[in-house]
């Protein structure tokens, strides 16, 4: 059954209003495909029925499900490698030296999907800074999608996921095999706190952080939304902090706020002073 353009437009507007994600008409196929999966989960006959239910009595239940279905959650462990090498060799040693022992270093993975990004940071800390007392570094992982965060907290990965970006030495050091899945040990899991957090809700304050990983999420937003998010990241970031974006992302929407710096083979962004 063909989904009406009114329903497609409803979804487009909902996802933009709630998550800032832009779905042009060229993304109608994506709306259809993702909501067809949701329809099956909900035991509804079609995408049209999902939308009709969401526009009626089941709005509170279904609208968030629709938004989540249209997020793209692809991620890997140690994605792009170099930002993690920069953390290990430069950023973390530098910030630890600049902070007193009672000031925890705060690392925020701001669109953490199923957890690979914050867990990679946790494994890196455990491996390369083994003597750090617990609590010296705090890692926060947030995402807009609750169901995705549930998977992050569970820290159970399928073979296809464990294959991606994770050094084999860390896999055998920190994961246990469970059927065909691999589960992360509780020691690493407990280093990361997960919270639901929507980057585009205007009222919620951004968590203060020394290092922000905001990777592969701005690409889904329009220019104005990107600018708004980056301004708030700038305000929440320590003056000597670091922002890491995805490979295809820049701070062009807020040209005066950040300075681009090269560290090893990666680029990151530091607050430009004065703000």
């Amino acid at each position: 059954m063909i989904t009406s353009s009114a329903s497609l437009d409803y979804v487009r507007e909902l996802v933009y209003q709630r998550a800032g994600i832009v779905l042009g008409v060229d993304k109608n196929y994506l709306i259809e495909a993702r909501l067809a999966t949701l329809a099956r989960e909900l035991k509804l006959a079609s995408v049209e029925e999902v939308v009709t239910a969401a526009r009626g009595e089941q709005a509170r239940k279904l609208n968030p499900r629709i938004v989540e279905a249209l997020t793209t959650n692809e991620t890997t462990f140690f994605r792009d490698v170099h930002p993690f090498n920069a953390l290990r060799d430069h950023v973390i040693p530098g910030l630890l030296a600049a902070r007193s022992a009672t000031e925890p270093l705060r690392i925020w993975s701001a669109a953490c999907s199923t957890g690979q990004e914050p867990y990679s940071i946790a494994m890196l800390l455990k491996t390369h800074f083994p003597s750090l007392p617990s609590g010296r570094v705090k890692i926060l992982g947030t995402d807009v999608a609750e169901s995705i965060l549930a998977r992050a907290r569970e820290a159970r990965y399928r073979q296809l996921e464990i294959n991606r970006g994770l050094p084999a030495a860390l896999m055998v050091k920190f994961f246990e095999r469970d059927g065909t899945d691999w589960t992360l040990e509780s020691g690493i899991r407990s280093m990361v706190e997960f919270n639901q957090f929507n980057l585009v809700t205007p009222s919620t304050p951004f968590p203060q952080a020394d290092i922000v990983f905001l990777r592969n999420v701005l690409i889904y937003f329009d220019e104005a939304t990107r600018g708004g998010v980056l301004r708030r990241v700038r305000a929440a970031l320590a003056p000597d902090g670091y922002l890491f974006l995805g490979c295809a992302e820049t701070t062009a929407s807020v040209p005066d706020m950040f300075e681009r710096v090269h560290i090893g083979s990666t680029v990151c962004h530091r607050p430009r002073n004065p703000a």
Binding site: T76, F78, N163, R164, G165, A168, M171, V172, R177
Partner: protein, 124 residues
């Protein structure tokens, strides 16, 4: 960047070759088992990378890794196991024998590319 591909499946060798070429490798040789690979290496010199299947006739991948790592001429060669063996103990065994990375079949082209990036091999 030069590589060899060691796998008894012709189809798998073709897939791996194609993926290596796409990230900028020159695939200088192929072998159908470990002993074949050792012989090929004598002719070819030391490549930067070998992709190594585990289950092969004559000499399996683990035996190949052990043999290569007992010869210091090959110290600079990175060894990546690419195999359907996915048990925890097997991964541990391969790493202990001197494999540098481990990729479980089935895998995607991205997964191979990411493993190679971990070893410093990147397309430019």
């Amino acid at each position: 960047m030069r590589a060899i591909v060691i796998d008894d499946s012709r189809a798998m060798r073709a897939i791996l070759r194609k993926q290596l070429v796409s990230v900028g490798f020159d695939v200088i040789g192929e072998a159908v088992h470990g002993a074949d690979a050792l012989a090929r290496l004598k002719e070819l010199g030391v490549p930067d990378l070998a992709l190594v299947d585990w289950n092969m006739p004559e000499m399996n991948g683990l035996e190949f890794v052990v043999a290569v790592r007992s010869n210091h001429d090959y110290d600079s060669m990175r060894l990546v196991m690419v195999t359907t063996e996915t048990e925890f103990d097997q991964v541990t065994l391969a790493l202990a024998a001197g494999a540098n990375e481990y990729l479980m079949k089935p895998f995607t082209a991205d997964a191979l590319r990411e493993k190679l990036a971990l070893l410093g091999f990147e397309a430019h």
